[in-house]
Amino acid sequence: MTTNRRDFLTAAVTAAGAALTPELSHAHDHEHQHDHEHQVVPSDPALRVKALESLLVEKGLVDRAALDTLVDTYENKIGPRNGARVVARAWVDPAYKARLLADANDAMADFGYLSKQGDRMVVVENTSSVHNLIVCTLCSCYPWPVLGLPPVWYKSAPYRSRSVIDPRGVLREFGLDLPADIEVRVWDSTAELRYLVLPERPAGTEHLSEEQLAALVTRDSMVGVTKVAPPQAGVSA
């Protein structure tokens, strides 16, 4: 299989039109990012993927309707809105928040996002003195049930490499400059625990409903790369 794998990769690279000179590592990085930004997906992978799907369906190894359902689930049903509802509930209900921090599976099961016996989730709380940040330095582990699939930057070398050695620098790239007296805790997802940050509730939201609060909560704040911004003037009820 090594030969096949190399063939595939080589074909993908060639089709992408990347004229690579190994000594020009920055040009190399640039081409890579370029592909992501402009979605110049080589036709070759598309054809090869289609061929594999046909083969697996013909052999009865996968069910095409199941594939459609999986794609639809992660494109349309499971995403950061799930996590936002959990966060908003924790903000308005101290008893729920206590359960969430003690046993996230139990608390998230209220929404049907996780089963009590299933994959384990851990929620870490941002406070006025502690800021949490989630990363997976080794691959791409991410809390799918509450955030959906990870964005490209989360899986990228720059984020994975620097989050553990320079989290404050990474946060500054996201526009968050933390005071020196804040304790930064980075959670490197090296096992099958999945982490979610419970961000701080912004000031000036006392009058908002749980639903209005959920609308404020962003994906990035639940990864810990940003804070939740206060409501914009005119948006709040």
Binding site: A12, D29, Q39, L55, D188
Partner: protein
């Protein structure tokens, strides 16, 4: 394996490229690779550790160059053949070998919702007393296995404090190579940033890693 995937602590990888309003998938083929991997994993012919390892063994320059779902595609093809669901000839020709009976897919659309909450399926309900307790000082071992491991280089040999015991999970170092699950306790271990990165690191900051019993020694 001390591969390129183990990049925690590396520098000069460039700025973080943020895409506003990023789609879940950037092309339909990415979504099909994603779904094919999940659906064919329902045969239980492999595990997530083995899948991760297929990406780790990519040559370093390829690993950095190809997109995430290209890595998935190559890993899926590798596992399908290596674990006997597809023959090498079928992979080449794209058609089932003559005379092979059509299988019945284990994952059908109606089963998808129930399958997702335990997708990782790594916890094990086995007895076994933990070797460490919360609050205990530990030191990460310094193995350099040529196979799969979830003990990053940047933590090896470092001292930390057990924060909590997560329970019993399969052991990736053996599981990835189909050498048994070796279930054991996993702990969240707190490492001071200064222990990992030296005196220039902020004094209060810390990195938490999830560590198996076999990754730790008492200290």
């Amino acid at each position: 394996m001390n591969g390129i995937h183990d990049m925690g602590g590396m520098q000069d990888m460039g700025p973080i490229e943020y895409e506003k309003n990023e789609p879940v998938f950037h092309a339909p083929w990415e979504s099909r690779v994603f779904a094919m991997f999940l659906a064919s994993s329902a045969w239980h012919k492999w595990n997530l550790d083995a899948f991760r390892h297929t990406r780790e063994v990519l040559p370093a320059d390829d690993y950095l160059l190809v997109s995430y779902y290209e890595q998935w595609f190559s890993g899926l093809r590798d596992l399908l053949v290596r674990r006997g669901l597809v023959t090498g000839a079928e992979m080449e020709s794209g058609v089932p070998a003559p005379g092979t009976a059509k299988a019945t897919p284990p994952l059908t659309a109606d089963k998808v919702p129930a399958a997702l909450p335990n997708r990782l399926h790594a916890m094990r309900d086995v007895q076994g007393s933990p070797r460490f307790q919360a609050g205990q000082r530990v030191r990460a071992r310094n193995p350099n296995p040529v196979g799969h491991t979830r003990l990053p280089r940047y933590a090896r040999g470092k001292f930390g404090m057990v924060d909590r015991d997560h329970g019993v999970f399969v052991f990736p170092d053996s599981n990835a190579h189909f050498l048994g699950e070796k279930p054991q306790h996993v702990y969240s271990v707190r490492f001071a940033a200064r222990e990992l990165w030296g005196e220039q690191a902020p004094q209060k900051d810390a990195v938490y890693l999830d560590m198996w019993d076999d990754y730790l020694d008492p200290a």
